[in-house]
């Protein structure tokens, strides 16, 4: 077994027992990146020197007998919309190609305080807008399992890096499925925490009422350990919720006896690929055999989630992206006649096609005469979707379904038709609209050998139950995604 095959918890154990050194482990990852990144395109920036310096300092701490934290010395990658002080943070956009943040995001600070080694910054769809990672200004990311296929998006680089062992774990962001769908396509574990559980300070905004940072990991144990580092109240984020956050590793129990799992009938209808459906229903049977109680539930407003999501997220994006004006940071057009011309040329040259499309959609939804009919209407439907889940959670503890209607598609397959691309987000967007938490984990492969992800959706701040349910499945089936992929 290679060092890079180890999960974070396994590697951390070996570091503590002095079986491996932090430097050795970090070097193994950097070599792996050298070997594979040219093909996969998971990293935009690799911080080799910084990572090795950090590895030496963590190893010194360890050698001097200091107590070290649970994930000390573990190499990880960050999606390139998470600010890292003096390390280029681009959002995979020409607009921010030269941007050096003057500060660390709260999660970046937390990782470094936990002595996690930052390997570099991970590729993504430009400004996190996309479901295939084809919208990166730098290069599309390839699915490590099949290089002709997409890794999913927008955290495609993060999922591909973890799946191909170029990173022991990664942090992504999820606005409408951007952690869970790529995790599903690449056969790894991805958690979208409850809105407000993880600080968004230093996360470059796409849609502020929906965005949330979360872990992409090799297994559920690692997911719980990373959540322990990143969850918590942050006074620098006004939407951060001030409650007591649990030790998520206490939920790593192989026990779902009596757990009420709801199957929304709307998640199993037409549009769901037959092979995906089959594997999800196998997982349901497995849960039943572990002692869970399966019940059918209904989320009648599911079919309205995509239109509501694209109106709300584009409206927020058009407002958030107004800040890119070529004045304070980022790209500036070379020639212009006056200030308005400077704005227009800068933005037209700096943004890619999908970003422009969303800005235009959002501008439309917020423009006078359409605001009530479009934006306000979508916000009303948002409440209906929120209440759908509230009702369902009176009957069940957790909701189970597919993460995505199909497995990874081919590069270029859906780029011509944006609406078709958007419709693939059907099972993930509701979770963001309602501010819930959800985890995606691998539950088998289709006939092409591509991973299938199941999604468990939890009540607000009930990540613990998701971790318990996911851990139970993983412990009993041994299906911790990547370890079975044979990459």
């Amino acid at each position: 077994m290679k060092l890079t095959d180890l999960t974070a918890s396994m590697a951390a154990e070996k570091i503590k027992k002095r079986e491996i050194s932090v430097i050795e482990l970090t070097k193994a990852y950097l070599e792996r990146i050298d070997e594979l990144n040219g093909t996969i395109g998971a990293y935009i920036t690799v911080c080799a020197e910084q990572a090795l310096r950090q590895a030496e300092s963590v190893q010194k701490k360890l050698d001097s007998g200091e107590d070290i934290l649970p994930l000390a010395g573990i190499p990880a990658g960050l999606k390139d919309n998470i600010c890292t002080k003096d390390v280029k943070t681009t959002c995979a956009s020409k607009m921010l190609d030269n941007f050096l943040p003057p500060y660390d995001a709260t999660v970046t600070k937390k990782l470094s305080e936990s002595d996690v080694i930052v390997l570099g910054k991970l590729n993504m769809d430009e400004f996190a807008m996309g479901s295939s990672n084809e919208n990166s200004w730098y290069m599309p990311v390839k699915n490590p399992l099949d290089h002709e296929r997409v890794p999913g998006g927008s955290s495609g680089g993060a999922a591909a890096a973890v799946a191909s062992h170029m990173s022991c774990f990664a942090l992504g962001s999820d606005t409408g499925g951007s952690i869970r769908q790529p995790a599903s396509f690449c056969g790894v574990v991805g958690l979208k925490p409850t809105y407000g559980a993880v600080s968004r300070f230093g996360l470059i905004a796409f849609a502020s009422s929906l965005d949330q940072i979360g872990p992409i990991t090799k297994d559920v144990v690692d997911c719980a350990m990373v959540m322990n580092i990143i969850a918590g109240h942050d006074p620098l984020d006004s939407t951060s919720v001030d409650i007591n956050y649990p030790d998520y590793t206490t939920f790593l129990n192989n026990d779902v006896k009596g757990l009420r799992i709801g199957l929304p009938k709307e998640y199993f209808g037409s549009g769901l690929h037959e092979e995906v459906k089959e594997k999800i229903l196998d997982a349901v049977k497995a849960y039943e055999s572990y002692g869970a109680i399966i019940e059918e539930v209904s989320l009648p407003f599911t079919e309205y989630a995509i239109p509501a999501y694209y109106i709300i997220s584009s409206a927020e994006a058009s407002s958030n992206l107004a800040r890119y004006d070529g004045i304070k940071y980022g790209y500036r057009a070379k020639e212009y006649s006056d200030i308005i011309d400077l704005y227009k040329k800068t933005r037209s040259e700096g943004f890619g096609t999908e970003v422009k499309r969303r800005i235009m959609l959002g501008t439309y939804a917020l423009s006078s005469g359409y605001y009530d009919a479009y934006y306000k209407k979508a916000l009303k439907v948002r409440r209906l979707i929120f209440e759908d889940f509230q009702k369902a959670y009176q009957k069940v503890d957790v909701i189970l379904g597919p993460t995505s209607p199909a497995t990874a598609f081919k590069l270029g397959e859906k780029t011509a038709n944006p609406l078709e691309m958007y419709l693939g987000d059907i099972y993930t967007v509701s979770v963001n609209i309602a501010g819930l938490c959800a985890i995606s984990l691998s539950c088998g492969f289709d006939s092409k050998g591509l991973p299938i992800g199941m999604q468990l959706i939890g009540k607000p701040f009930d990540e613990g139950t998701l971790i318990r349910a996911a851990y139970t499945y993983e412990s009993n089936t041994g299906k911790s995604g990547v370890t079975n992929c044979g990459i």
């Binding site: 050096l100 079919e303 212009y336 227009k344 096609t353 235009m360 501008t363 309602a434």
Partner: protein
């Protein structure tokens, strides 16, 4: 509802974007498809008695004491500026 090229041009101006004729052509079709799909769908629902939900959390503004705290160094902030002069961001002339 039909989206015209003129609509797209007006929106592009509001969004401070210059679009090429090809971009306008493509966006006119894309926007019409996406907006018609979305609105036909959402308008199936009567939402007269539903309150809009901007946010899932009952959030309110977060205040802190009005005390001066250390902020960023001026040079630190200016280092990302595309053009700067004498400790300021440089912009084209905005007042005649």
């Amino acid at each position: 509802m039909a989206i015209t090229k003129e609509d797209i041009e007006r929106l592009a101006d509001l969004a401070r974007l210059n679009l090429t004729p090809e971009e306008i052509e493509k966006l006119t079709g894309d926007m019409e498809t996406i907006i018609n799909y979305s609105m036909n769908k959402l308008n199936e629902l009567n939402t007269d008695d539903v309150l809009p939900m901007e946010h899932v959390l009952p959030i309110s503004n977060v205040f802190r004491e009005d005390i001066c705290e250390k902020s960023f160094d001026r040079e630190e902030i200016l280092k990302n500026a595309p053009e700067k002069a004498e400790g300021c961001f440089l912009v084209p002339k905005v007042v005649e």
